[in-house]
């Protein structure tokens, strides 16, 4: 019957079609990659090209939720804005009631619970976004979590969401090594390398944010990103030259 595609009820073979369609919407969003290092977490997004007259600083896909947690999303930007706002309020509410900053797991659980509630009430549709929530707990351990429209969440060492996320994830699975991400540089490089797989024409279309232990989130300057990109391209050229000789 076609009616179970409109509201969030089960189909006869056990699917929630609205949730699956929401996941399709996510796959249309621009790519986001996240890497968890030892003392740093890095999140990189593909910057979609903006119109000439548009001010590109108003389109920010990486948002701080609190001093120790930030997130990036793939999917419907408007849905994300609502979720981010609720998460920010929850972070402060937690500080007020409990005198401690949220742990990354707590705020991820909150966001996932919110998403789940929307898959189980009638008259509402699920949120069309997947998010990567990254940050440090107040005891210094780094975390990276991914949530999806169904309301499930998992912890990851490195992950990608959005367009071509499968390609990027396979790249990360091949190239992620514990020793590689022990340094901050290594984690940043890995995130950029992974993004370069699917992003056209290099540094201009990449935005990168990194959070180090006990420091607030920093969005890397475009010049810094370009520096890394050039270094990586040089590495690639030299690797190819060595292969030829």
């Amino acid at each position: 019957m076609s009616y179970d595609r409109a509201i969030t009820v089960f189909s006869p073979d056990g699917h929630l079609f609205q949730v699956e369609y929401a996941q399709e919407a996510v796959k249309k969003g621009s790519t986001v990659v996240g890497v968890r290092g030892k003392t740093i977490v890095v999140v990189g997004v593909e910057k979609k090209s903006v119109a000439k007259l548009q001010d590109d600083r108003t389109v920010r896909k990486i948002c701080m939720l609190d001093d120790n947690v930030f997130m990036a999303f793939a999917g419907l930007t408007a849905d994300a804005r609502i979720l981010i706002n609720r998460a920010r309020v929850e972070c402060q509410s937690h500080r007020l009631t409990v005198e401690d900053p949220v742990t990354v797991e707590y705020i991820t659980r909150f966001i996932s619970n919110l998403k789940q509630r929307y898959t189980q009430s009638n008259g509402r549709r699920p949120f069309g976004i997947s998010s990567l929530v990254a940050g440090f707990d107040f005891d210094g351990t780094p975390h990276l979590y991914q949530t999806d429209p169904s309301g499930t969440y998992h912890a990851w060492k490195a992950n990608a969401i959005g367009r071509s996320s499968k390609t990027v994830r396979e790249f990360l699975e091949k190239h992620y090594k514990e020793e590689l991400v022990e340094t901050d540089e290594g984690a940043i490089r890995l995130a950029i390398k992974a993004l370069l797989e699917v992003v056209q024409s290099g540094g201009k279309n990449i935005e990168l944010a990194a959070m180090k232990q006990n420091e607030p989130m920093k969005v890397l300057d475009p010049e810094e990103v370009d520096k890394h990109v050039l270094a990586l391209e040089k590495e690639k050229e030299e690797a190819e030259k060595r292969k030829k000789t």
Partner: protein, 273 residues
């Protein structure tokens, strides 16, 4: 429902006959269920406890002054936190119990003391114990002393001015080391190295202040705690019974002893009797 929210209609199912405050469904899984969002007790419509109590206190004739009839003390030192309480429960001039338990063991790493109204303390601290347990289940790690004391403080603030009488110390050991907080029915929450509550607290402060050193040995600290309570029970009419003493260590609390004050006072005041 979604349509109701968009139209701005408030759902009436959340408010019972008595509802002046909205009561949320008490078992939401994702957030604390007490405090500013949802009150434990719905008040009858038209009730004004704050105004009633104002009329009953001070100069306007009948005075209902709630004494915190107890002595409790706690202090931090090099080897942890010592908690010592008396055990007399008084109802006016009558001793209701000689062996009341004024320390609630919230979990192996958290203790709460009670002074003031026995009913209020027992109820709210048991509620605190429930929230601490739920916190541990939801977040897979024990609640910090700072957070536990803040939860109790928020509960008190929700009923501020309505006649609660609670003077409590929350003691524990968490990731930041030994913790000691004083929380009372005004919503005061203070972190400190030493506190004493109850109407015998003046005597206890005198004894502990004069004998306290940060680098005391464990035995010396036990003696100091016993002395503080003993001297307070000797002079204060509303304190007495036995001294219940606990020692909060890194691996959890241990109950040190339970000693009768009438025997202890003979030990300490050799020349007097």
């Amino acid at each position: 429902m979604a349509l109701q929210n968009i139209c701005g209609l408030k759902s009436h199912s959340g408010q019972g006959v008595f509802g002046t405050m909205t009561s949320q469904h008490p078992s939401r899984i994702d957030h604390f269920t007490f405090g500013s969002k949802c009150q434990e007790f719905a008040l009858p419509v038209g009730a004004d406890p704050v105004g009633f109590l104002k009329a009953c206190s001070g100069e306007n004739g009948v005075s209902i002054d709630l004494n915190h009839g107890t002595t409790t003390l706690a202090f931090k030192f090099r080897h942890g936190v010592i908690v010592a309480v008396d055990s007399r429960a008084s109802a006016g001039d009558y001793i209701a119990s000689k062996y009341a338990n004024k320390v609630i063991e919230i979990n192996p790493y958290l203790l709460g003391t009670m002074s003031g109204s026995a009913a209020d303390c027992q109820y709210w601290e048991r509620l605190l114990a429930k929230e601490c347990r739920l916190y541990k289940l939801r977040n897979k790690e024990r609640i910090s002393v700072s957070s536990a004391s803040k939860l109790l403080c928020n509960m008190m603030l929700g009923y501020r001015g309505m006649g609660l009488s609670v003077g409590s110390m929350i003691c524990g050991w968490d990731k930041q080391g030994p913790g000691l907080y004083y929380v009372d029915d005004n919503g005061t929450r203070l972190s400190g190295r030493m506190f004493s509550t109850g109407c015998g607290n003046g005597y206890a402060y005198g004894v502990v202040d004069s004998g306290y050193r940060e680098d005391m040995t464990v035995e010396e600290a036990y003696e100091l705690g016993l002395r503080g309570i003993t001297h307070a029970t000797h002079r204060d009419a509303y304190s007495g019974g036995v001294v219940n003493m606990y020692h909060m260590q890194e691996e959890g609390w241990i109950k040190v002893c339970q000693e009768d004050v009438s025997e202890l006072i003979h030990r300490y005041k050799k020349g007097m009797f």
